[in-house]
């Protein structure tokens, strides 16, 4: 049990089952059957031991690059996976291989959000990325530029904080009036003291060094109403990773964000002044809790004119992010057209103004 790959089999025909994000159920691509989470759980609790025997695969060894080698339970081929990978595919039979031995103990996620968006959704979203972005090169969002596309359950740390903040600011109230030939300006200066405690829930920080932190920030927010207890069943059909940044390291990023927002929240309570000058602020963590979860992300690698561009789509909400190259020629043409248009328009307004 400690070193096996794991996959779901169709109760009807024993073909592999795949998770279907749109229906939030499991479908068999061979016999067309569909099963709910309840049905799967019920079936596996009965037949579980049989399946486990069938899917047991021994972790062979590490190869010369330090990769782990597993045997596919389906076709017996070798599955090569690196240290972080927890779910991958057999390159020969395309079966999902869940490396269950890596999802135990501290690496066992407590919760996850299943995929809601399919590969086709991600492709569609990428095709439309040029909408409202006239400076994208015309060919960029072409489907043939999608070099690689993976639905990955990315390890995230979610942090709950109760943060106490203090803030001191000089606040000025400025009023002005005129008496006779003199204009008076009166400045009342106050010192504003604020102290407050507030809670943050589930600030996400990605727990894998393989994914760009800023990009993972940019696909936020996830809708935590979609959080479910972790189950291997949702991994079928997708890749999955385990964390390589531990909670203590990742916490710093979340804390920085929470501290900024705490100071900002306190600052926003200093109202009714013309000028507010904060000269002291401090935050202390009163309590915190971390959750290890897997969140669904579609990663797209785009090959365009010999350069690689990375895009990520929130697998739950469909929000897609990535930096799009800029077509400099288009920028110049736009600028020139706007210049001429505004020059003519302004001249016309001036000319019409003279007729009135």
């Amino acid at each position: 049990m400690s070193s096996n790959t794991f996959d779901h089999k169709c109760p009807n025909c024993t073909a592999p089952l795949k998770f279907n994000p749109h229906g939030q159920n499991w479908v068999c691509e061979y016999c067309g059957s569909a099963f709910t989470k309840k049905e799967i759980d019920l079936y596996e609790s009965k037949k579980g031991h049989v399946l486990k025997e069938e899917t047991e695969a021994v972790k062979m060894e590490k190869d010369e690059h330090g990769m782990d080698i597993y045997t596919c339970p389906n076709c017996g081929a070798q599955i090569v996976a690196d240290e972080q990978t927890t779910a991958t595919f057999c390159v020969y039979c395309k079966n999902t291989a869940i490396l269950k031995n890596k999802l135990v103990g501290e690496f066992n996620p407590s919760y996850m959000i299943p995929f809601y968006k399919t590969k086709e959704d991600a492709m569609e979203a990428f095709k439309k990325i040029g909408k409202g972005r006239p400076f994208m090169p015309k060919e960029f969002s072409n489907q043939k530029n999608i070099e690689e596309m993976r639905g990955i359950y990315i390890p995230f740390w979610l942090y709950d904080f109760a943060i106490q903040g203090v803030l001191e600011a000089d606040a000025k109230r400025i009023s002005s009036w005129t008496t006779g030939d003199y204009q008076y300006t009166k400045t009342d200066t106050y010192r504003a003291y604020r102290e407050g405690i507030m809670s943050y829930h589930k600030i996400p920080v990605d727990g894998s060094t393989r994914f760009d932190d800023d990009m993972m920030n940019s696909i936020e927010p996830f809708d935590y109403k979609g959080l479910v207890e972790f189950s291997h069943s949702y991994l079928s059909g997708f890749y999955a990773e385990k964390y390589d940044v531990n909670s203590d390291q990742a916490k710093e990023d979340a804390l920085k964000r929470a501290s900024n927002s705490t100071a900002e929240t306190l600052r926003d309570t200093v109202v009714g002044y013309s000028v507010v000058d904060v000269h002291h602020q401090d935050c202390q963590v009163h309590s915190f809790q971390d959750h290890y979860v897997l969140l669904p992300v579609w990663m797209l690698n785009i090959q365009y004119k010999g350069k690689l561009y990375m895009f990520a789509m929130n697998g739950q909400t469909g929000k897609i992010v990535g930096d799009i190259p800029i077509d400099k020629k288009k920028v110049m043409i736009w600028w020139a057209i706007l210049f001429v248009a505004i020059f003519l328009l302004a001249s016309l307004i001036w000319w019409i103004g003279g007729m009135l």
Binding site: G132, R133, F135, A171, T178, D181, Y182, Q183, Y184, T185, K186, T187, D188, T189, Y190, R191, A192, Y193, R194, E195, G196, I197, M198, S199, Y200, H201, K202, I203, D212, D214, M215, N217, S218, E220, A254, R257, A258, N260, S261, E264, T265, T269, V270, V321, G322, D323, I324, I326, V331, W334, W335, L338, F339, V340, I342, F343, A346, W350, G353, G354
Partner: protein, 264 residues
């Protein structure tokens, strides 16, 4: 013989008026001698010939109107003064109705453009310098000063002006080339900048406000302590008219004329 002499005199008195050398000096207050008048007349003729504008000198002891300006304007309008279509000309009035020398310079037509407010003030200064030398000198100073400014032509500030159909000065709207150019450079740059920024979607998150439970906020301390107050004052300079004016000058309420005056 007497008839003959009379006819001869008539030729001298009236013929010049028929052929354009109309009367230019109306010395009703009798401030000038006959010789002074003829000297001034000669200078006026020179002025008219050189600058193609009329020039009238008027003195009065009675002013039935509310101001020297009104008197001057009524006087100018009731006579056939002025050259060309816009009745171009300048009139100097010495109004002694209140026992003072209220000097008013009335401009009409092209003269409004040439004699800007600042030039009128300079001419008045030149006239005032001659007060102690008598009226003849004051008029002379007026003619010399007016000639000098007429020789300079229209000042820069009025280059862009014209005389409208009511005889008032009007300014042509000038195409705001610089403003429109700056606008045309700036606005597309802002629009293009915003659109370029749209292509960058990956940004580091610095705030956690989305994850803040607003209901959990408990303010333990909320104190605004008064430290100090201070008040500053600035004197606002008021627009006061040119100092020393004995009566309201520069008023444009009487249409078709410009000018300015001063009590001396």
């Amino acid at each position: 013989m007497k008839k003959y002499v009379f006819a001869f005199l008539c030729m001298f008195l009236f013929i010049p008026s028929v052929f354009g050398a109309e009367e230019k000096i109306y010395d009703d207050a009798d401030l000038l001698t006959f010789t002074q008048e003829s000297e001034l007349n000669q200078k006026i003729e020179e002025y008219i010939e050189n600058y193609d504008m009329d020039m009238i000198l008027v003195t009065t002891l009675i002013n039935p109107y509310s101001s020297p300006r009104e008197f001057a304007a009524k006087f100018y309008d009731s006579h056939d003064f002025g050259r060309n279509e816009n009745r171009d000309g300048i009139l100097m009035l010495i109004d002694r109705s209140e026992g003072y020398n209220d000097v008013y310079l009335l401009t009409t037509g092209e003269a409004i453009r040439i004699y800007s407010d600042s030039r009128i003030e300079s001419i008045l200064d030149d006239i005032q310098e001659q007060v102690s030398n008598g009226y003849s000198s004051m008029f002379e100073a007026f003619i010399d000063s007016s000639s000098y400014y007429a020789s300079l032509g229209v000042p820069d500030e009025n280059k862009n002006s014209y005389i409208d159909k009511d005889g008032n000065i009007a300014y042509k709207r000038q195409f705001p080339f610089l403003l429109i150019t700056i606008l045309s450079l700036l606005v597309p740059s802002i629009i293009v900048g915003i659109l370029v920024a749209k292509n960058k979607m990956v940004r580091k998150a610095t705030s956690a406000s989305v994850y803040l439970d607003r209901g959990s906020i408990q303010l333990g301390r909320k104190e605004d302590v008064f430290l100090h107050t201070h008040t500053t004052s600035i004197h606002i300079p008021r627009n006061t008219g040119s100092g020393g004016s004995g009566f309201s000058g520069g008023s444009h309420s009487i249409g078709g004329h410009g000018g300015g005056g001063r009590r001396m």
